[in-house]
Symmetry: C2
Subunit: 411 residues, 2 copies
């Protein structure tokens, strides 16, 4: 293990993440945008003749920490949502989520077919899937920054974004499973059904097992006399489900999200009563250390060289259009909520963040017909799309909610 | 990067760490002892015919996290001590620390000379060095468990343990530097002086630079509008000094400790005033996640097979005797504090924990005359010594302080 380069790399990444997060905040943008751009800068110093950081993009230690970061992030996002809360979200959230998955998927698939004629159908499916999931982190953060977390639009958007995330993860599982199947046999309707069944089965099984196991596990854990038991057992549960997900051929983040979804604060009341920090609170320093490493590393892996290619810019433009326009269908999904501002709901669903990048990074590792599903050029186009949609949302949402507030004074 | 085995390994290590920490606590022992023993169990399942965990002892991802754990631990220990506080600790702490370094070092060197006639002088020096540093973590924890953190004995022991830790790190730097020198040229008095000078120079330089840099750095950082700035900048500072230490041929933990020593809460008042968590508080979840990984991994690397060797047990016995008896010289170091219980001071200095194991793990990576300085057999003997001294202290200290309390009623 190369400890010196790990130390230097981490020191650099953490400082760059915070400074760029600050600059992003100053410009009214979410911190994740700054972290991505900081990574782009660090990863492309070679263009300016400085090659000292070339090793950073594939440093095993930093990769380990980034991988752990995204797993912890999805665990956290899962913890924010509850199975009960998801059942509570109304018809609107469900229809908005459904429309917000179907139309971007269709538009993304079409864009792939039109612009990448040589690519296999899998690549187009993957491209469509990349556009489906709304970044619940970015959406929630923007609404909070605007002080509108409790508005009716906010509730519809957040509910739909959570369902979106879950659907996105199922789609990812299906797509990854399809590629696995491609290697062993020709894909078939039966194969797709099997893969979908396995993905939904894992989630259903994990939820059922988790709901049964979680309170019992924490009841035993609350008897343990050791520091930070809640954190350790919670993380173990997350890692265990992440491991089980990989054993079924799913991404580890699917398991981490399921683990978060299953865990409820009531399960570990015995531990918080003993003075342990709440799990979400104890996770925050860990995620604030590890998560930026993931986003900066994602940025580092953007090859600006490939931006020179007009083909990349064309694909990026098409993806952006598909991403933005596709989510506007969500406006039609607001049902039975007379006061809601449909335009704001559509805009609030635009940001693609974590999940889009996760798709892109998973796609880099997958192969279809001996080619990586996401080539460096396509990866760059996806990152451009994530950057543009992330950048676009805060000012657009601010404008549209402000417009609504003027037309309809606050109650 | 092998994500599935990382997930499974971490889930297993965290659960084992907490369950064994609980069992240790139930037996009145510090959690670190349980973590070590849990590792010994996990690492030696091969003896019972189960080889499924063989990969764990050299898993790159787990090694990265363990390495990060020990760096964060030394940073935390450094944060607990301040330069001012160290200047405040009286004559007693200084003399106790000095005697507590010199006598175990001499006894350890002698034990090496007598029992390992084929070993080079470096190995004996390393063995002596391994016995010097009191584990401040274990000592503090035991005193806290007994409700005696504020007693006069506690203050002498803790002050001496802090100085001890620092001396131990300087000794480690000197010994590692000597071995570096051995590879390039014959060691000489000049070489030793150079190495000592480099080690002390680094610490002095790091302290001077840090004292100048730290308040300025945090003044700039307090203007940053980003979440968890204090944690990120603090960790960056730790990793930067760890990196600089490695550039000078010192261990990264020396830099991490120096970083902690330099940082003072007053430097980042601007950030805590803005509602940021205190650095120590924000580090706690991170260290409680990473530090047990280090100790469990250390335990995993203990080869029980080598215990069968009577030679190992003989060396382990001699090391234990040198460790326990060597620290009893500390009793003579209590000067000008009439009420203090000298026996308790000597017993309180016994535990060798983190630092002893760190020495052992550093020694495994070092080479002298083409041989590892710490062979698997010697490593096992050192771990037995750490286990025995750690195990011995809590009941012995409880007894000796109780004896003092009976003889001399509480004021």
């Amino acid at each position: 293990m190369d400890v010196p380069s790990l130390m230097a790399g981490l020191a650099l990444i953490l400082v760059f993440a915070k400074v760029s997060g600050h600059l992003a905040a100053k410009l009214g943008q979410p911190a994740v945008l700054g972290e991505l751009l900081a990574g782009v800068v660090l990863g492309n110093l070679g263009l300016f003749g400085y090659g000292g950081l070339e090793g950073l993009s594939h440093h095993a230690g930093i990769e380990t920490l980034a991988e752990l970061g995204v797993i912890v992030l999805l665990f956290e996002v899962g913890l924010e949502s509850t199975i009960g809360g998801m059942l509570e979200v109304g018809l609107s959230s469900l229809v908005v989520a459904g429309l917000g998955v179907i139309t971007p998927f269709a538009l993304g698939f079409l864009a792939g077919r039109l612009l990448l004629p040589d690519a296999s159908a899998y690549v187009c499916v993957f491209l469509g899937a990349t556009l489906t999931a709304t970044s619940v982190g970015i959406t929630a953060r923007v609404l909070k920054d605007l002080g509108r977390s409790g508005s009716v639009e906010a509730r519809i958007i957040l509910g739909a974004a959570v369902i979106d995330d879950l659907l996105g993860l199922v789609i990812l599982a299906v797509v990854v499973g399809l590629l696995e199947a491609e290697r062993t046999a020709a894909p078939s309707a039966l194969g797709i059904a099997l893969v979908s069944g396995k993905a939904l089965g894992f989630l259903a099984g994990a939820l059922a097992l988790g709901v049964w196991l979680s309170p019992r596990m924490f009841r035993v854990a609350s008897r343990l006399e050791a520091a930070h038991v809640l954190l350790a057992i919670g993380l173990s549960f997350c890692f265990l489900l992440a491991y089980l997900a990989t054993r079924l051929g799913l991404a580890p983040i699917v398991g981490a999200f399921a683990a978060g979804l299953v865990l409820e604060a009531t399960h570990y009341e015995g531990l918080t009563a003993k003075g342990e920090h709440d799990l979400t609170e104890a996770l925050r320093p860990i995620s604030s250390f590890l998560v930026p490493i993931f986003f900066v590393l994602m940025g580092i892996r953007v090859e600006l060289r490939s931006f020179v290619d007009p083909g990349v810019l064309l694909v990026a433009g098409a993806l952006c259009a598909a991403a933005v326009l596709g989510k506007q269908a969500c406006a039609a999904g607001v049902i039975g909520v007379p006061g809601a501002d449909r335009l704001s709901v559509g805009i609030g669903m635009i940001p693609r963040g974590e999940v889009g990048l996760i798709f892109a990074s998973v796609g880099q590792k997958l192969q279809s017909q001996g080619q990586p599903v996401v080539t460096p050029a396509l990866y760059s186009a996806i990152v451009i799309m994530v950057i543009i949609t992330t950048l676009l949302t805060p000012p657009a949402l601010k404008w549209s909610l402000g417009r609504g507030a003027r037309a309809q004074p606050t109650v």
